[in-house]
Symmetry: C2
Subunit: 376 residues, 2 copies
């Protein structure tokens, strides 16, 4: 694949907000976990296809990737969307990006843990303890291509399927998040075993997660080369650590990964989602886009970042509490309006503070998108 053969992205609002110097009048919007179980069309496809199969089959993965865009695409941009059974297409509910359908656990799976999706429980990995297979520096490129190339195919297929109508977002789990799943063997309510293992490991070797950084960076680069314009690094679980541990042992790795990606692909837009880390402003100097979970007030985060006097302030992304979508249309409109007031004249990508949830439905997403796009 060569990025030169791709048609330019038609609705490049998201990219312009990230790349242009001055303000951009319109606010781009997408939703974390926008392809997923709140969509009946996703559930229909999943009913016939096992989770890991969907991830690994470029046709199925790209199909799921574009499902929310078909439903919420901009009418002007893609006539085909209007004719599809699930389409609810207007200019007012347009999604400005798709995110490739994949899983944060692709890397642990590539490293040899078996990944399955257990209904009602979520992803389950065969536990790796606190040690996992190491990939030597000279083998990283080959390893990533061999073991994770299916994700690049899914990115490429997604971009083709939407004729570059909107940007495709690629993503990877960040080192601590990967480690936490590897230790716990899946999701956890407390992540206590993961933290306990992390404390032990960093006492032995403060850099024990370093080898995984190149894998993550190379994995993001591969997705860029396959057609993803924005790459999001999900450090979703490290906010469970004490802030001072996060600061000392997690941030440097995030910084190195972003640097590695930007150095080899300067045009790639790199977004970092560190959810509820208590010192988000400390992360403001290296990614292009910085996600904000729902517990922080985005205006406070922005003020703290501005107080740093950086030469470049990252675009903020977020931070509507996903639970607002469950509380009714009126509440969604109110809260989005509050956010719009806070982020008026600021560079902002509207999004949730975390992912869409299975107990949601498309109508909630539609209200959110309309609230962002309309002049409330």
């Amino acid at each position: 694949m060569s990025r030169k053969s791709f048609p330019a992205v038609k609705n490049d609002l998201l990219l312009r907000v990230c790349r242009e110097e001055g303000p951009v009048a319109e606010t781009p919007v997408w939703m974390m976990r926008q392809a997923g179980r709140y969509l009946p069309e996703f559930k229909a496809l999943r009913a016939e296809n096992e989770f890991v199969k969907v991830c690994k089959d470029a046709h199925l993965a790209s199909e799921v990737t574009v499902q929310p865009w078909r439903r919420f695409a901009s009418g002007e941009l893609c006539e085909v969307a209007r004719s599809l059974p699930w389409a609810e297409v207007t200019a007012e509910n347009a999604l400005d990006a798709v995110i490739v359908f994949s899983d944060i656990l692709t890397i642990p799976a590539a490293l040899g843990q078996t990944l399955t999706m257990v209904p009602g429980k979520g992803p389950v990995l065969t536990p790796a303890g606190d040690a996992f297979r190491q990939v030597s520096p000279e083998d990283v490129s080959r390893f990533v291509e061999d073991e994770l190339g299916y994700v690049f195919d899914a990115v490429f297929a997604s971009r083709m399927k939407i004729h570059s109508a909107v940007p495709v977002i690629g993503f990877s789990g960040a080192p601590f998040t990967l480690f936490s799943y590897m230790v716990e063997g899946g999701g956890s309510k407390t992540w206590a075993a993961a933290r306990a293992a992390f404390y032990r490991r960093i006492r032995e070797d403060p850099h024990f997660l370093k080898p995984i950084e190149s894998v993550v960076a190379q994995y993001l680069i591969g997705q860029y080369d396959a057609g993803a314009d924005m790459l999001q690094l999900f450090e979703t679980n490290a906010d469970e650590l004490p802030a001072e541990v996060y600061s000392e042992f997690v941030v440097p790795g995030l910084r190195r990964i972003v640097a590695q990606v930007k150095q080899s692909r300067p045009e790639a837009i790199v977004a970092l989602f560190a959810k509820d880390y208590r010192r988000l402003e400390d992360l403001a100097d290296f990614p292009d886009v910085l996600g904000v979970g729902w517990k922080d007030d985005i205006a406070t985060v922005l003020a703290k970042i501005k107080a740093r006097g950086l030469s470049k302030v990252p675009v903020l992304q977020g931070n509507l509490d996903p639970a607002v979508l469950l509380s009714g249309d009126l509440e969604i409109l109110h809260k989005v309006k509050e956010l719009k007031i806070k982020m008026k004249n600021e560079k902002w990508i509207a999004n949730l503070g975390h992912g869409m949830m299975p107990e949601m439905n498309p109508s909630m997403a539609k209200t959110f998108l309309q609230a962002v796009k309309s002049s409330l």
Copy 2:
């Protein structure tokens, strides 16, 4: 019952740290959820007695309350402890308080929801939706006495059982935490339904939780009268809310509850545990003791509090990550030492940043207590 008939507390270190003006040389210590499933003696008792029965039977509840103290009591203070089968008594591993064995869900249960403990799942309530039984202001005292008096009996029995050797801590769930359990019908990984319901309810009536405040205050007062010297208000779940919502809709209620308790029982020591609330320093002007979860750096919290220039700085309590106990003795010693350095010459009650966990064992608790009490 009359507090005047109680013998004075013998080991009053915890009380002195809270009441005296100047610094106190020694650090008092206890552990949230110190009576619980990490103790074999607790499991032995629970094997023969259903959870709610243990809470409601003053003999059983007080037995469980004093179990960790028997195991980790100060040898000088209570000869009887030494002769008990579980005792591991030295001066170096002394617990400086017991906390009455009860549940945060006693109030929802009193309001008519049925509480059961489901193995492997935790407490389960019959769901109340987002509306719950209101208690009229004139009925609060009688309601609390009738429906929650069994907790007062447990406090009284606990104090008698230890001959006032150490202070007994009473506690209550705070309004949002109670509401969140009432809505979800038990624990939740995301608490999204609770937040969604909360947003709806505060839009209709910003003061909808106010009626519960007097119940909580009266419940704490009743525990004080029964012999508890410190009363801890657990607002464990409100940190899932956006900081600005917490600040506007949760803090005023906490403030009113503490004021009501302090006004009617000025001698009572009131502790507030707001876990990971992002603006802990904003809570510093009303409780005597302020708990700090494990994600905040306690030194940073203290510095922010001091920057407020209050006439009285609360005693801080916490903030060791409970997961440290799972990572081995060496790690416990290291981290407690770090904490002791941070809190040197400060008023501090050593504790975890959250509760003891079922996957722990008494040896971990013992190491923690020894680390606090020894001169590391």
